[in-house]
Symmetry: C2
Subunit: 336 residues, 2 copies
């Protein structure tokens, strides 16, 4: 018998089809072992090809190196194929019964490392910290433009998950509107807190630390867990234990713990599921209210192991073949 579970924030239901239940080895595909080079001279994101990308807006590099040259550990550039751009006016306008506006915004690429062959699961601690600091630095810089209402930080890994270039990178997109999906979560948090006078994510953390069946890892300041109403197999969230609305204001102790738990979670997933394609997204408060302290930021990691089809597209109800309790146990038991 399958079970319907409700996401306590978004009110979306999922169907846990436990009779179809799948385990990690059901998702493991036999991949040819392609030895990736640490440096690929043809890759535009590799060292030495800085002139083949738009100029950097941020870089972490050695003291005696020059911008847009060699000698960097991390670079942030504008996306050459940007979906949005900061130039121009917003000009919101009506087209008969419809609304439209110019594509004002930012679309940046975080080139996370000069090593072509690595990814979050395989970096050393310092590199993961660098990536997180870059997310924070660019968030704070972009937020100064008051036209921008939301800043989305995400990572696509693997072709199936939409990554078009192999060199490890994340993306940052800033939009002049608050996305509906974010509104839905902000509203969910607000409604819960009006009714119960506390934060729903704080309640989830308290509950999961007590209950333990969906817990993956815990460290000083963070917790990694599979959500009760997981929409897809091995969906995993990492949340700060302390209530905090925006990720970008982390101090260095928090960045340290976040880097540690992010790397370990990704390495467990990498080991358990054989380097699966995935997307992760930082869910944070909209720019205008990111200091209001009503939201609880976190990161959502979604391995792309199954294909959403007509039912999911039409209803947004997901059929999940791996209950989160099973996924969490496999991740917990994976030694890294």
């Amino acid at each position: 018998m399958s079970e319907l579970r409700k996401d306590v924030i978004t009110r979306e239901w999922v169907i846990l089809a436990s009779e179809l239940a799948k385990r990690p080895y059901d998702f493991k595909t036999e991949k040819p072992v392609v030895k990736k080079l640490a440096h690929d001279p043809k890759c535009v994101f590799c060292e030495g090809n800085e002139d083949k990308t738009p100029p950097e807006v941020l870089s972490y590099r050695s003291h005696n190196s020059k911008p847009n040259g060699k000698g960097w550990q991390l670079r942030v550039i504008n996306n050459k194929f940007a979906a949005l751009s900061l130039e121009g006016d917003l000009q919101r306008r009506d087209i008969t019964i419809y609304d439209a506006m110019q594509g004002i915004g930012a679309h940046e690429v975080v080139i996370e490392s000069n090593d072509h062959s690595k990814n979050i699961a395989l970096y050393d601690h310092k590199t993961v910290e660098n990536v997180i600091w870059a997310y924070c630095d660019r968030y704070i810089a972009l937020k100064k433009d008051t036209r921008l209402k939301y800043i989305s930080v995400f990572r696509n890994h693997g072709k199936i998950a939409g990554a078009s270039l192999a060199h490890p990178h994340s993306q940052i997109v800033a939009t002049p509107i608050i996305p509906q999906k974010v509104w839905q979560k902000v509203s969910g948090v607000t409604q819960y807190s009006e009714y119960r006078e506390k934060c729903v994510y704080c309640d989830i953390i308290e509950n999961e630390l007590k209950e333990k069946s969906r817990l993956v890892i815990e460290n000083g300041k963070f917790v990694s867990l599979t959500p009760f109403a997981s929409r897809s197999p091995f969906e995993t969230w990492i949340l700060p234990k302390g209530h905090s609305s925006c990720f970008a204001y982390m101090n260095r102790f928090e960045v340290n713990d976040f880097a540690e738990i992010l790397r370990e979670t990704m390495l467990k997933m990498y080991t358990c599921l054989n380097d699966p394609p995935y997307n992760y997204t930082i869910v944070t408060a909209p720019c205008d209210t990111d200091k209001l302290d009503n939201f609880h930021w976190h990161i959502e990691i979604v391995p792309r192991l199954t294909t959403p089809a007509g039912f999911e597209i039409g209803t947004s109800i997901y059929i999940n073949v791996t209950p989160p309790e099973i996924a969490a146990k496999f991740l917990r038991d994976t030694k890294v």
Copy 2:
């Protein structure tokens, strides 16, 4: 310069990245010409293998043929790997801070034709009509179970779009809850009608028939168009011109016109995009209110030509590389 466009019903924005604009031939992949057999003895949905599926809940068959034997044109069966089942009690229950209930519902498969090699684009008119009548008949039968709140009818075509079996089929899933995605549309329609005292879909149809740039085909009772805020390349909607909340109460003249425009639209897509993978979903009123006449049913066809990634998953803002005006022109100009 890209453009942001807002869906007037759901309030979701899309980014039309016109600088990255793609045309049909950019999506055409060179497919090996696999000659599909009209009958595959190994296919469980082919004639002669009726004993390999669960028993039929509906069939259109010749007078002298017997249920669950040969001689049918169309069969509807329970899904062997059903996500939901009608047996059991709903038993909504709390699990600490969460909600869950038993997976009560229905999950049926419409085996659309005894020809293994065809699909909606290639059927004759009569077969398309049969498929539509089967959708209506099963909707009306399932609706009698008052535990069911929404009945979703959809079709997955091609592996990328989640179809696991090649034999042409659609699916029907009935859920004991109204999906959030449907709620979002029902709310959008309600808000628009409270404000403007008319139906938003009726306004869209009137506007598009006048404006013409996003029009694909029109016949007596239906219109096929690419929506102003298309989320993905070649997204296409077919809507009845007359306001009607639920598809299942069509009369035979309406079924005739719907079959005609559905087949022609799918054939244009098949020809223009070289048999693309796609999902289509019928969007209709929830069961309880399907006679209230506040909604406007329609079908949404989404070819799977691009991969939604972290940005789309995290924000539900889609980046679309083919403006609907370009898609509509290509579909209009495709001779079938």
